[in-house]
Symmetry: C2
Subunit: 214 residues, 2 copies
DNA sequence: GAATCTATGTTAAAGCTCTTTACATGAGCT
DNA sequence: AGCTCATGTAAAGAGCTTTAACATAGATTC
């Protein structure tokens, strides 16, 4: 599993899987000290190689972080898509699943989430990164579309706006409350329940009462 | 205005206002490269003093950042409180003002906002810091209270929950969209309008229709 | 107004760490 | 076996952090 220094003799001069090991090391280090809390050399140390070795695989620390973020967005998009499950069994239930999956990801993969949203990476640093981000957002967008479609045309809000509201509320709750992190504030209820309640109230405001779609 | 190196002869041996100059330098540097993008020595350079000088005013870089964050929360609380204006002229209008002030702060003071919410400072690093944060949140809490009070008791939601929803939506929009930063995503409408629409829909869902309170 | 005290600077140096350059190794191919 | 290239190491240069020793000047006291 881990390619630590102990395996040095067995592996010999070459690591064999350094790129992956560096990504894994970065995730551990982000968990421990945040996306800004470690250096390229730290990652090398954690992977059991010399400080110069990572430069064979990533241009610099930022490129490593960008790769972590890209992988994070891909995992994220997958999990959101699976939770949405093509809107089955119904838009409302599927949206609830989607929201729970959103916060579950932030809670269970805080390192990925931090790399994705808190590492302050320039959006244009990498095309694959921004495309992966777009794929994740597309799931939310699709869900908003399905929900809006259940409303009569004359009372149908812009789906882009609805998806942005849901995203912003989810992200707000995730980043303020849903991470194990001591930097976060205490809450009177589970983040998932807070989000679910918020979304239900919001949908009610749109005229989407529960009975119609559950 | 600026206490740069050029003023060195005029000011002589002592800076005269180094503590403030360091805070100003930190804000500039955060604007330019993010809360993690500069060193203690950089701040000293920007203030035109030797690398050791800052230690007379802050224990370390983190303490400087914490002071910036504290000042930010205090400014933030002030501006929110002024926007809320004791709920005048009515809870709905005052809330809209509050929301706009929230996003205006994130937009106009991105360095403060970043220090407050993205610097990953341990919450317990400083009592004054966490108290200042509490004061800012208290304004939102107060607004939620006033809004909920306009509802009949049997349909009145928990005010803490309502304040958390509004905070999360505001913070989500601010951190995803409302910073000049190239890291942010493009938007089809002004962040302020996005927030206002979201809050109106949400309040509608609570049963607070505009007419009653405007 | 002179002496002293204290706050706030500077310089210098030790100890780290990052980053880069030049070199070493070994896996795959012919 | 020998070539070649990808992937590692080692060593050196540069910068940051922190401390200790010293310098300056504003404030206080007599």
């Amino acid at each position: 599993m881990s390619w630590s220094k102990q395996d040095r003799k067995r592996r010999g001069y070459h690591h064999g899987n350094l790129r992956e090991a560096l990504v894994a090391a970065a995730l551990d280090l982000i968990d421990a000290k945040g996306p800004a809390g470690f250096t390229f050399a730290d990652a090398a140390r954690a992977a059991g190689v010399s400080p110069a070795a990572p430069y064979r695989h990533f241009r610099d620390r930022e490129a490593l972080l960008a790769d972590v973020a890209r992988r994070g967005f891909e995992k994220f998009a997958d999990q959101l898509d699976r939770a949405w499950n093509n809107g089955q069994p119904g838009p409302m239930q599927a949206l609830e699943n989607l929201g729970r999956a959103y916060l579950a990801f932030a809670e269970n993969e805080p390192a990925y989430y931090a790399a994705m949203f808190e590492a302050q990476l320039p959006r244009d640093i990498d095309r694959e990164l921004s495309e992966a981000g777009d794929r994740a957002f597309a799931v939310l967008r699709q869900a908003a579309e399905a929900l809006c479609a259940t409303l009569p045309k004359d009372r149908r809000p812009p789906t882009l706006m609805v998806s942005l509201h849901i995203w912003a509320l989810s992200h707000g709750i995730a980043s303020l409350f849903a991470r194990g992190d001591a930097a976060r504030r205490a809450l009177p209820m589970a983040p998932q329940d807070l989000l679910e309640a918020g979304v239900l109230i919001y949908l009610d405001g749109l005229g989407l009462t529960g009975e119609h779609n559950r």
